[in-house]
Symmetry: C2
């Protein structure tokens, strides 16, 4: 299929949206699907909707659709909660698998929330557990037989640097450690093959490249041979073997179902389920090839036009996710000026201008235009307007 | 104000909905609010919506509105996740406050997920921690100086039996224990005064009597004097003091904000926020008074018409939540037959027929009609149709 498919999205006229890596745009059909979930399903079926509308099964049904995009076999992915919660679940289950080891190993390119959740878990467990954080390049060498769990995000949220999933998973297994991959910046952006990688756990979110909407549910993958073995630390009733038996004690459900916790967010799930239809008309292989080409073009255009910016993403597309980042000391106000001109990227402290490229709705002409506008802002110091310095930094 | 206010809800014609204690019906205005969140906010603002549409502040803003309904001061309630996750957060924080004590005390009238979450937490902590579960009537006597945390649901999900929040909280404090209340069947159903109760933590859901929709976010309350002191075990980035500084280590946010974890479910939050407008036109005092009267009437009607059913809810309205439950060995198929006739209650294993009364949209005529239909089903053994026996039990 030829990309882009701008016709599949509702994006405001004139906007060049280079922030699908933070929040994907609204796919067509989602508004109608959510309206149906509210009016016909909730309004019309009320409590019966748990069966008649398939709400109860949705986390597994949608999980399979996400799983299909990341090389997971059917029945190995389930949706729910937020990515931070899913990280906690994977880490807790991983630690329980290696009771004689005390170290969670991660890197300083990981998304901070993953490190925070590890801190919280370690604090609960006490007894000498600790989090060891090294440079991304030093991970492989740091895996030794003290390490219970290696937890990494495949694609660095700031730089776009991409880990070698298979190689690091092999190294982890070689030292007897459990491997947890965070696919926040991978799912929907590039080809992931969890089955080939052979990691024990993977987690991710769906509001970025999977376009599930603000606050879309997260997912967790458990390797099929472990799904009936792992111990859920967040032992919620919908992960129970028989939730509606209302037993007094917890018995984990069959397979991946045990990683469910509480009542699923039905309206968010409806949005996500519809958004995933985008993947019926394209392949991850095509998206990835187009993404590398767009990122290469943006690097070339920006380096030619804006010499003040320093590339901090890998130059080699194979070592990069679907984003390009530049360091620039005036990056914050420059990004605000760019946003005001309709080119939406984002800023990550301390000095990173970050641009995501989603070939579903971005093409080469958009890339050249974005670089041209950026050049104009820099050449004319348009970012120097105080309005851009004082704007909130929440995005 | 005169109740009911059926005009505030979209309920299918002819349905008598006695299951607002499981999933509240669709309030008018919610469909439009959700559509606005999808189309104008997500579609139109994309990533900018986190600021421009107030998404980032929503958990605290909506939390204050819920807090107002349960006697919590501004800034002491925040929304997010599911009730099971909020239970975990409260328990973990409570245990951390009493490091020399090892017991979580609860009762067998608690919702099972609360007990399961306690089991999971205890398993993580190891070191002699344990969950002690007693009969509801035995709780007060079981509170001794081994108890770190007393965790109870105010209103029993099966029987509607209501604990005395103030008395039990005082007993807990008298023994040096921390008190956690689950308000799942209280918030929106009856008057709760958390400030007067003086408990350390409270949690609850919003898809029952607060009509937030299927999968609506949960809430957690932390007593104001503790909000800057408690230790978040689920240390997610949105509970960090400066989430967008992307520090490598966790520093809890100010006050109740530290109980946030991951990205909030913006679409669900929009539905809930609109649903809460119902409370602008009524008071919890009026709702409670009407609810007790409706429940009394239903008990009288059913006991007169259906002698095969045994009341298992307290007969005294002051000791009961907003529901009435009867034990009946054929309760499951009888409830299915009732649902087929348009009277929606639900069934809870092993033999409980459960009816919730929400005076916002239920009146005395509905109560009498529901009892009349129930009588017809029992008198004519309509529940004996095999279709009712084989139907799924998920509701």
């Amino acid at each position: 299929m030829t990309l882009p498919r701008k016709d599949l999205f509702d994006i405001p006229e004139g906007m060049i949206y280079l922030d699908g890596n933070s929040l994907g745009p609204l796919p067509k059909g989602v508004a109608a699907a959510v309206q149906d979930a509210v009016v016909a399903q909730w309004g019309g079926q009320l409590i019966k909707g748990w069966n008649s509308c398939g709400w109860m099964a949705q986390p597994a049904v949608v999980g399979d659709r996400v799983g299909h995009l990341i090389g997971a076999s059917a029945g190995s992915v389930v949706m729910g909660d937020t990515l931070s919660i899913k990280v906690f679940q994977a880490l807790a289950a991983g630690l329980a698998m290696r009771p004689d080891r005390k170290v969670i190993l991660s890197d300083n390119g990981n998304f901070p929330s993953d490190l925070y959740m590890a801190e919280g878990l370690i604090d609960l467990k006490g007894q000498g557990y600790r989090l060891k954080v090294v440079d991304p390049e030093a991970v492989a060498d740091a895996i030794d037989d003290s390490v219970a769990v290696v937890m990494l995000t495949e694609v660095d949220y700031r730089t776009g640097r991409k880990h070698d999933m298979q190689a690091i998973t092999q190294a982890a297994h070689g030292a007897g450690a459990v491997m947890v991959w965070d696919l926040a910046h991978s799912a929907g952006a590039l080809e992931v093959d969890l089955t080939a990688a052979n990691c024990e756990f993977a987690v991710g979110c769906t509001y970025k490249y999977l376009n599930g909407g603000p606050g879309a549910p997260a997912f967790i993958y458990v390797r099929p041979d472990l799904a009936d073995v792992v111990k859920p630390a967040l032992a919620g009733w919908l992960g129970h073997a028989a939730p509606f038996a209302f037993d007094q004690t917890y018995t984990p459900g069959a397979g991946i179902e045990r990683m469910r916790v509480g009542t699923p967010p039905v309206l968010q799930m409806a949005a996500l389920e519809q958004a995933l239809n985008v993947w019926d008309v394209t392949t991850m292989r095509d998206v990835r090839a187009a993404s590398v080409a767009l990122c290469d073009l943006f690097i070339q255009e920006v380096e030619t036009r804006c010499p003040a910016l320093t590339l901090i993403s890998p130059r080699n597309g194979a070592q990069r996710g679907s984003q390009v980042s530049f360091a620039y000391d005036n990056g914050y106000p420059a990004m605000q000026a760019l946003i005001a001109r309709g080119v939406i990227g984002d800023f990550r402290a301390l000095n990173v201008m970050r641009f995501g490229f989603t070939p579903l709705f971005i093409d080469a002409a958009d890339v050249v235009q974005a670089a041209t506008i950026l050049q104009d802002i820099l050449d004319n110091r348009l970012w120097d307007d105080p309005v851009y310095l004082t704007r909130s930094r929440v995005t």
